[in-house]
């Protein structure tokens, strides 16, 4: 029998305190603030404007475009990360020579700061000296050269590639753990029945890794809503807002335009979307609330 029931509250107190003060309270503040109009950090001068900020966001084509970018980016990045990650994992799982070395190489971008990845790829895509255009030039494909980051059509793909590079290694880690849980007997049985590599891959591997797919999808969607670093470093949301994301919009509205009420509304929308998406994915795939458990 617990002698002192209040003990438990003391144990959770530090964690709850930090989260309440620096996360929960800000959310509530954002909620209230989103219904007002005020500048910079001068909240005392805030005036109540009801749903005006939300209406403005609804009408703002730039913001709608940001959301579109977010979804577009999310779908593409998840597709590539999952497919590249899974394929590499399956191949690595064959434990051919040098597989540990290969894994070290594939995973190392994950430990790098977004700053390093961002600047590195900014340079690779640099029109005049960057690795990509230099390579195209020397391969006789100079007509394929582009202003990768300066061109509204291509900039988002540049960021996409940087993002895939950074996180593909994570996919390998997750899938590897999942793969370890699939018995080799299933594959052997399939081989006896005449299944080839791709057949096993699509009919056995992919379906049996459903749990892992869910975890990656969940973290990927939340991650894309939180997306900021690479876009800020590589393009600042340009050119022509083609690579702007919701958080960048928030940042711009607050830091550059001092439109705090509007920025708060953006924050609330992002939080709502994140919650909805997580709930949605969990519901669709019929899983419980245990994230991160493999």
């Amino acid at each position: 029998m617990r002698k002192n029931k209040w003990n438990s509250y003391l144990y959770i107190l530090p964690a709850v305190a930090f989260v309440s003060v620096f996360l929960i309270y800000p959310i509530l503040f954002n909620l209230i603030s989103s219904f007002t109009k005020w500048k910079g950090l001068n909240f005392s001068a805030a005036e109540f404007v009801g749903l005006q900020n939300y209406a403005a966001l609804w009408k703002d084509t730039v913001f709608r475009n940001d959301l579109k970018n977010c979804i577009f980016f999310m779908v593409l990045t998840l597709f590539f990360q999952m497919s590249i990650g899974l394929l590499l994992t399956v191949l690595l799982n064959m434990k051919l020579a040098g597989h540990r070395f290969l894994e070290t190489v594939y995973f190392f971008p994950v430990v790098l700061s977004s700053v390093v990845i961002g600047y590195t790829f900014s340079h690779i895509f640099e029109p005049n000296f960057g690795a990509l255009n230099t390579f195209l030039q020397s391969a006789g494909l100079s007509n394929l050269k582009r202003m990768w980051i300066g061109d509204p059509k291509y900039a988002i793909y540049a960021i996409l590639i940087a993002n895939i590079y950074q996180w593909a290694g994570m996919g390998i880690i997750y899938y590897r753990a999942g793969l370890a849980g699939i018995s080799k007997d299933i594959y052997d049985a399939a081989k006896i029945d005449g299944a080839g590599f791709w057949q096993s891959f699509f009919k056995i591997t992919i379906p049996l890794l459903k749990n892992i797919h869910v975890i990656i999808l969940l973290m990927g969607t939340i991650g894309c809503l939180k997306f900021f670093d690479l876009a800020y470093i590589m393009t600042s949301g340009g050119p022509a807002n083609s690579t702007e994301f919701p958080l960048l919009y928030l940042y711009r509205k607050f830091m550059r335009e001092s439109n705090s009420g509007l920025a708060s509304a953006v924050a609330i929308i992002i939080i709502i979307l994140a919650t909805l998406m997580s709930a949605g994915i969990l519901k669709i795939t019929g899983n419980g609330k245990e994230e991160g458990e493999l």
């Binding site: 617990r2 029931k5 003990n7 438990s8 144990y11 959770i12 530090p14 964690a15 709850v16 989260v19 620096f22 996360l23 929960i24 309270y25 800000p26 959310i27 954002n30 950090l41 590499l88 191949l91 064959m94 051919l96 040098g98 070395f101 290969l102 190489v105 594939y106 995973f107 190392f108 971008p109 430990v111 790098l112 700061s113 977004s114 700053v115 390093v116 600047y119 790829f121 340079h123 960057g130 590079y165 994570m170 997750y174 990927g220 939340i222 991650g223 809503l225 939180k226 670093d229 958080l247 928030l250 940042y251 924050a267 994140a274 919650t275 997580s278 609330k289 994230e291 991160g292 493999l294």
Partner: protein
């Protein structure tokens, strides 16, 4: 060569080709960092001063302080809370647990405005504490999840045996649970270090003078007009940012990989 051997060779070629592609960005960055001056570029970056203070070592120090402070707070609060959630019974347990976990989906940047206001009114604007508290808050939920998962696996028998021997809750926590969960502690520690050390958003927004910049803000600093460096020097600073983490990765690769597979990243 047999068919199987041919297939394996093909796969190896593909895998190593991918690895080569993976290394290209590194080569590209190192190459430009050495342009026009070689190693001297790195020396120049280290020697840059503002107000007679060498700024890069200061940034490294700032990173160490912020990372260390954050790790301390997260480890203490998360292990204590996880212990309570895992082994104790109390009213509101489920409520608080869900509360803490649901914070995972919330980007810290969306708390930018209220926290800036809060820090300003607390007089903590631009201080180490502001960055440490915020980074800690961002990482506590996931740490709790990982620790609870690990503590759950520790059989209740140990705790009951300790209770019979007259151990208090705290003693049980410190001398039984913690030692038994060393692998998880190491994993979280290692992942925390990388996440906080690499963090860019919080220092970007919450430090007010270059003296408090962490290492990740070095390019921002060198990008400011008065400090503007040419490209090779800028990329030398990028390599300098990457080196501590890569060294850490080389030594602790297994622990890092294990830790990251337990719970996702901020992404």
């Amino acid at each position: 060569m047999s068919n199987a051997k041919k297939k394996n060779l093909l796969i190896e070629v593909i895998l190593f080709a991918v690895a080569a592609i993976w290394i290209i960005p590194v080569l590209s960055t190192v190459q430009i960092s050495l342009k026009n001056g070689g190693i001297q570029n790195y020396q120049d970056v280290f020697a840059t001063k503002i107000n007679e203070v060498m700024i890069l070592p200061k940034m490294i120090l700032n990173s160490v302080i912020v990372t260390g402070g954050t790790i301390l707070i997260v480890m203490v609060s998360a292990t204590l809370a996880a212990y309570a959630f895992s082994k104790q019974v109390f009213r509101g347990k489920h409520f608080f647990f869900v509360l803490l976990l649901s914070c995972y989906a919330i980007p810290m940047l969306s708390t930018l405005i209220p926290n800036s206001l809060l820090m300003k009114s607390l007089g903590l604007r631009g201080s180490y504490i502001s960055m440490i508290f915020l980074l800690a808050t961002a990482n506590i939920p996931l740490a709790i999840l990982i620790f609870k998962g690990n503590f759950d696996g520790i059989s209740k028998t140990y705790i009951e045996a300790a209770a019979i021997d007259g151990s208090t809750d705290l003693k049980t926590f410190l001398f039984i649970i913690l030692p038994m969960s060393k692998p998880a502690v190491v994993n979280v520690l290692v992942v925390l270090f990388i996440q906080v050390w690499n963090d860019f958003q919080i220092p970007l927004v919450f430090s007010t003078s270059p003296e408090k910049y962490t290492l990740t803000l070095a390019p921002t600093f060198f990008g400011l007009t008065q400090n503007r460096l040419d490209l090779p020097h800028l990329y030398a600073s990028i390599v300098i940012i990457a080196i501590p983490v890569i060294a850490f990765y080389m030594f602790m690769q297994d622990k890092i990989v294990e830790g990251m597979s337990l719970g996702g990243l901020k992404e």
